[in-house]
Structures are given as structure tokens and as C-alpha cells.
């Protein structure tokens, strides 16, 4: 039975290379299902590993359906069944994490999103993923076929061969005509201050003790040419603005350096900082979960560290 990689419109080259890397340890030949007309298809440097045998390009007609995948997942499920894929792997994002379980349900297979590893032993598939608010890693066997998984593994590798040598088949999904809703409207959320793409980010958590502490963190940010983010309690207390909230409900930052003051490192917050290259954390509780996410930690009262940083940066002020 064959396997396939599924590439969705919002995936970028790093997602796709991440998927290629994951399948390196998995036997068998793979197909590549590309959905939509994303930029990577036009890129001459889009490359695929030897394992990829053919490409199916689905020209998107109803992926733009923003409320759910409806009949779209049924069409995709039908195609997967037709091709007898035993494994479908895609990168994890808001679309795939709904689409894949939907497809799996139709096919009565096994599905797991956000896996961190995938292994095949004696024709059985094993995956790992974080559970218990990221405190625990669980290993599962996915028992039914097809096995459908998503992973957030990314890679910037460029060792594959160019796409042009491969056979490509075009497909068109029927446009779906959904009548269970009316008055559909969409609005793009505008980003206020570039926190998302900042190279340096400072985060004020609840431990900074109120507005004064937050203001001091903002002052340090300015002096360090960084952006200021915050955790949810400060937003709810009206100290910081909603667009400054970092985390799963707020902004996911990916700076080179991220410095966090007085946060407990709760999972929804940690989700928002984990893509940072180097994370520094200050917390007065040596047991704090925050340090699990840090490359460098300071166990101390953050108001003292903040004051000292301000003193050290005074010469640069003005």
C-alpha cells in the first residue's frame, strides 16, 4: 500500500521540507498531494526526495470555505481510499488539524495531530506527541488504516531534487454548495505593532507586579530595540493591550531572543514563545514551569532584575 504527503495552501517550504525529513525513516513509496495554487509550485527550487513517485495537484475550489471543510473532506477521503493510501502525513496547522480528523472519520482510520515523531515497526505505526499541557510525552500506536497524522516539524534543508522530473496529475474537486449557513462575512485581523515578526521580544508576566512593572519592561524593550508582549492576566487587568498578548490565543512570536519576566510558563502561553531561537526567563520560583522552556534562566525577584537592567541601560537612554 502506498503512502502520501498532503500539502495544504498555507504550508511553506519549511513545512514541506519538514515532512520530507520525517518520511526519510519510513519505508515505501510516497505520493505528494498538493492542494491549491500556492507560491511554492512556481518556485524553480521546489524539490522533492527520491521517495516521492508522483504528484497529484488538486486545484482548490472549496478550500476557501472558512467555516468547516464539509463535503470537501469527503471528496478527499474518497481519493485516499481510491489510492489505497495506508499513511497520510501533513503539516500541523489550523486547517489540517480539522481536515485530517474529518477525513479519518469518513475512512474510519486512526488519526493524530501535532505528532513529534513517527515510526514504523513490523507494519505498525507509532507516534509521539505532547499531552497533559505539554508536561508529558505520550507514545501511541495508531491501529487502524489509513493512519493520518500531522506534524509541526519544519526544516530548511535543500538536499532534494527539483520537481520537474516528476509526473503530475491534475484533479478538480467539485465546488461544494453549502446551505446550512447564511450571511457569510470575513474580516482580516490587522496586526498592530509587528510583535509577531519582531527579532527581539520582551514579555511581562503577572510577576512584574502591575502596571509599573509592565511600564519598566516596556522601557527596557525600547532601549533594546525590542517589542513588548505580555501574558493574559495583564491584558485582563487592563494593564496591557489585547494585541500584546503572546500565546495560543494571542500572538505566536518567533524572535531570535525572547526575554520573559514573571510568567509561570503555562502551556497556552508557552505555545506562543516556543518558536523563539533563544529564550531567557526570570522567575523567583525555582520550580517554575517557565524554566522548562528557557535556554537561560534567572531565579530572582524580577523587579530587582528589571531595575538593574534599567540601570545598566541608562547610558543608552536618550
Amino acid at each position: 500500500m502506498s503512502r502520501t504527503i498532503l500539502v495544504l495552501p498555507n504550508d511553506d517550504l519549511e513545512n514541506i521540507n519538514g515532512l520530507f525529513e520525517i518520511i526519510e525513516n519510513i519505508g515505501g513509496a510516497f505520493d505528494l498531494i498538493l492542494i491549491g495554487d500556492s507560491g511554492y509550485l512556481q518556485e524553480s527550487n521546489f524539490k522533492v526526495p527520491d521517495k516521492i513517485q508522483s504528484i497529484h495537484h488538486f486545484h482548490d475550489l472549496s478550500m476557501s470555505q472558512p467555516l468547516g471543510f464539509g463535503r470537501y473532506s469527503k471528496s478527499l477521503a474518497e481519493f485516499i481510499k481510491q489510492q489505497s493510501y495506508s499513511l497520510v502525513i501533513s503539516s500541523a496547522n489550523e486547517d489540517s488539524n480539522v481536515l485530517l480528523p474529518s477525513v479519518s472519520t469518513v475512512l474510519d482510520g486512526s488519526c493524530m495531530t501535532d505528532i513529534t515523531s513517527l515510526n514504523e515497526k513490523a507494519d505498525r505505526f507509532y507516534v509521539t506527541r505532547f499531552v497533559y499541557n505539554m508536561n508529558i510525552i505520550a507514545e501511541f500506536e495508531l491501529c487502524r488504516r489509513p493512519v493520518i497524522v500531522s506534524t509541526s516539524h519544519r526544516s530548511s534543508t535543500s538536499k532534494w531534487v527539483p520537481i520537474k522530473f516528476l509526473k503530475k496529475t491534475n484533479h478538480f474537486f467539485p465546488a461544494t454548495d453549502e446551505n446550512w449557513f447564511s450571511g457569510l462575512e470575513s474580516e482580516t485581523i490587522t496586526e498592530v505593532d509587528g510583535l509577531r515578526n519582531a527579532k527581539k521580544v520582551l514579555v511581562a508576566g503577572r510577576g512584574v507586579s502591575g502596571k509599573k512593572g509592565y511600564d519598566k519592561v516596556a522601557e527596557i524593550s525600547k532601549l533594546l530595540n525590542a517589542k513588548t508582549g505580555t501574558t493574559r492576566p495583564l491584558v485582563q487587568e487592563g494593564i496591557a493591550a489585547n494585541h500584546e498578548m503572546v500565546g495560543s490565543s494571542g500572538v505566536i512570536v518567533s524572535p531570535e531572543k525572547c526575554l520573559i519576566f514573571g510568567s509561570s510558563g503555562a502551556a497556552p502561553f508557552a505555545f506562543g514563545i516556543d518558536k523563539s531561537q533563544i529564550i531567557f526567563g526570570v522567575n523567583n520560583d525555582p520550580e517554575s514551569q517557565l524554566f522548562r522552556f528557557c535556554d537561560y534562566g534567572i531565579i530572582d525577584d524580577c523587579s530587582l532584575i528589571i531595575s538593574e537592567l534599567l540601570k545598566l541601560l541608562q547610558p543608552f537612554n536618550g
Partner: protein
């Protein structure tokens, strides 16, 4: 009468579990039995929005009835009394001895069976469970019931006998009026906490009881699509190096030099 079913899970409150508490972990059990049990935070949003819809409906002629449903061995009085106190009309426990945490298809089949016996106009639930992170129950249930699924629900209001929904996915809000029975999965909703009951509301419901039904035995015989092999402590996602010093000044100095280094 509009009937909303709200599915909720009762889970360990991991925010108050210390690092050292995870030392009791075994390959099949997280070992945090002593930790507080709470309603999963995503499900809290679903419950809160259902209550808001009920409030909106009470101002017009079409009342809303709320049934909150959970699956498990038991349900603590503190939790269900609180649900009654805030305005949930009925609380149902589908009693299941076997653990269901990592069995999304089984959970959805159990809920499906319950919903076949009773009619609901809307099903609200958290999109994910913060412990198992399955994120599949709503999706599977939508397929079993053959009703539309709305994921990433951020806000719902009830106007003119219809649910008006707002979803938030990536950098986009989408709004629509829902014309049919549907499943609403809440994710990072604007109101993420269930309201608090007043003391008077709490005292009024002290003697109220929940409906308990045993889960059909046939569910035990069906093979799970996912098997938990083992649990292990997530050591650290990064290897934290501590910056030491005689005082805060010294630590700040090292911190600053590392932060400024290219």
C-alpha cells in the same frame, strides 16, 4: 424550546502541578491523582457561551434549555452544583468505567448514542481537551450525526431564534448565521471562563441531582483506533542554564550581555 447540549470533560488542573509532582508518573498513569479536577478550559468557554445564549433567549419568546454532559466514572458535587448554580438546566453523567481519555472515536460514539435518544438543536464543546489534546471529538460526532461542524468558534450570540457565530482562524474572523442544527467547537474564545455562581445561587441548588446513565457495554468490545503505549515526562524542551551571581546586579549584567550578543 431550543435545546443545547454542552459536552465537557473533567481533567487534572495541571497549572498547579509542580515539577516534582510528575515524579510519580508511570508508563500508563500520570501519577497526579491528588491534583485538582476541573472542567477543561476549552469546555468552560462552551458552557459560558451556552449560558449567554440562554440569557439572550430568555429576553424573547424562545427559551433555551441547557444539558451539560460528561463521560466518566463519577462527577464531583462541587462541579455539578456549580453548573446548576450558574444556570445549566440538566447535568448528565454517562458512566463509563474504562478510561476514555485517549479514545476520541469511542467518546464520540458514546455521545452520538445519547444524542440519538434525545433531540438537540446545537451541540457546544471545546475544540480540544487540554490533557489529551485529541481535538477530534466534535469532528467525529459531526460525521456520525451528519450535521455541520463549526470549528475555531470565537463567539456566538443568539438573535431572532438563530445562532450567529464568529470564528477566528489565523488572522481572519468569519461571521455567519447558522441555519441548521450544528456542532460548535470553541477554541480561544473571547470569553474563556465559565461565570462564577453567587452564594445564593449555590445554596439554592445544594440538593439537586444529576442524571446518571451507564454506557452501553457494546462500546467496550469495539477496538480503539489509538492505543496508548507509554507516558514519559517531557524532560525539557530546552536545557535551561541558570545565570548565577552574588546579587541581582551581577545576574542582570550577564543576562544583558547574552541578550545583546549577536
Amino acid at each position: 424550546m431550543i435545546r443545547i447540549l454542552i459536552c465537557f470533560a473533567v481533567v487534572h488542573d495541571t497549572e498547579n502541578v509542580l515539577k516534582s509532582d510528575w515524579e510519580n508518573l508511570t508508563s500508563q498513569n500520570p501519577g497526579i491523582e491528588h491534583s485538582n479536577m476541573i472542567i477543561d478550559t476549552y469546555d468552560e468557554s462552551a458552557l459560558e457561551y451556552a449560558l449567554q445564549c440562554k440569557e439572550m433567549a430568555s429576553k424573547v419568546t424562545c427559551p433555551i434549555h441547557l444539558t451539560a454532559l460528561t463521560i466518566g466514572q463519577s462527577l464531583s458535587a462541587t462541579i455539578y452544583q456549580n453548573l446548576f448554580a450558574v444556570g445549566i438546566d440538566r447535568v448528565v453523567l454517562l458512566k463509563e468505567k474504562a478510561p476514555v481519555s485517549f479514545c476520541p472515536s469511542r467518546i464520540s460514539r458514546i455521545i452520538h448514542k445519547f444524542t440519538c435518544d434525545e433531540r438537540f438543536d446545537a451541540i457546544f464543546m471545546g475544540q480540544q481537551n487540554s490533557i489529551t489534546c485529541n481535538g477530534q471529538t466534535g469532528i467525529r460526532l459531526s460525521n456520525l450525526l451528519n450535521v455541520p461542524l463549526i470549528s475555531y468558534v470565537n463567539d456566538v450570540v443568539f438573535i431572532n431564534n438563530k445562532f450567529h457565530v464568529k470564528t477566528k482562524k489565523r488572522l481572519q474572523y468569519t461571521r455567519a448565521v447558522i441555519e441548521q442544527p450544528a456542532i460548535y467547537c470553541f477554541f480561544n474564545a473571547e470569553r474563556s471562563y465559565l461565570r462564577m455562581a453567587t452564594l445564593r445561587e449555590k445554596l439554592k441548588v445544594q440538593s439537586r441531582e444529576i442524571d446518571v446513565f451507564d454506557v452501553d457495554k457494546t462500546f467496550d468490545q469495539q477496538e480503539n483506533e489509538i492505543n496508548l503505549i507509554s507516558l514519559s515526562y517531557n524532560p525539557v524542551t530546552r536545557n535551561c542554564q541558570f545565570i548565577n551571581g552574588q546579587n541581582a546586579g551581577e545576574k542582570a549584567q550577564v543576562l544583558l550581555s547574552l541578550f545583546m550578543k549577536d
